[in-house]
Symmetry: C2
Subunit: 121 residues, 2 copies
C-alpha cells in the first residue's frame, strides 16, 4: 500500500528581506502584469489565475504570475487544484511605503488617459 502524495503543494516565495526594489519595478514594467496587480488591488483581494482575463495563452499567463511571485509582488497558494493569488501589500508597504499605491494610481491615470484619447496615448 502506497501513501498518498502530499496534496499541499507549496510555491517558493522570497522572504520580505529578499524583495528588491529593482525586481518589483521589473515585474511591474509589463502591461499585463500591471493589469494583474490592478485586479488584485480591487474589491476581491484573492483571485485565481483564470479569474483575471488576459489576452494570452494559459502558459503565458502562468509565466506572468510567476514573475510577480518571484519578485515578491504577489503570494500564490494552492487551494485544491487552483492557485489563489493575492498582493503582498503588507510586505511591500513595509519595505517601500507608498510605492505600490503610487504605481497603482499611475496605472489608473494611464488607463484613463488611454480611454479618453482617440490616439491611444
Amino acid at each position: 500500500m502506497t501513501t498518498a502524495a502530499p496534496s499541499a503543494r507549496v510555491l517558493e516565495h522570497p522572504a520580505r528581506a529578499e524583495i528588491r526594489l529593482e525586481g518589483v519595478l521589473h515585474a511591474l514594467s509589463d502591461p499585463l502584469r500591471l493589469l494583474i496587480v490592478r485586479e488584485l488591488s480591487g474589491p476581491r483581494p484573492e483571485l485565481t489565475c483564470s479569474q483575471i482575463e488576459l489576452p494570452v495563452t494559459k502558459s503565458t499567463t502562468t509565466h506572468h504570475f510567476r514573475v510577480l511571485r518571484e519578485a515578491g509582488v504577489i503570494q500564490q497558494i494552492y487551494r485544491g487544484t487552483a492557485k489563489l493569488n493575492a498582493l503582498r501589500r503588507t510586505d511591500l508597504d513595509a519595505l517601500f511605503p507608498g510605492l505600490l499605491d503610487a504605481i497603482l494610481t499611475a496605472a489608473t491615470h494611464q488607463a484613463d488617459r488611454k480611454q479618453s484619447s482617440p490616439s491611444g496615448v
Copy 2:
C-alpha cells in the same frame, strides 16, 4: 568651400504624452539606472554623464543614460561636447503624481537597509 556641420546635436526625446508607465518602471528596474536617477534628484539637478560615477565602462554608462532618456525619465542636452542630464520631473509628476518620489524614497530605504545589514539585504 564647405559649410560647417551644425554643432548643435539634438537627441530624441519622447513627448510627454508618449511616456508610458511600463517604460518608466522598466528604465528604473536596474540598480545603476536607479543610482543615476538618485544622483539627478540631489542638489545638482544637471550633471554630465562623467559626473556620475558608475562601476562600468563608458559605453555601458552611455547605454544606461540612453534607456533613461528613451523612457522619458531624463532629458539629455548637449552643451559643447558634454551631455547634460536632468530628470524630467515636471513631466513625470504631471503624468504620474507621486510616483517618482515614491521610487526615490524606496531606493533610499533599500540603500539604507543594505548599509545597516552585514548580509547586504
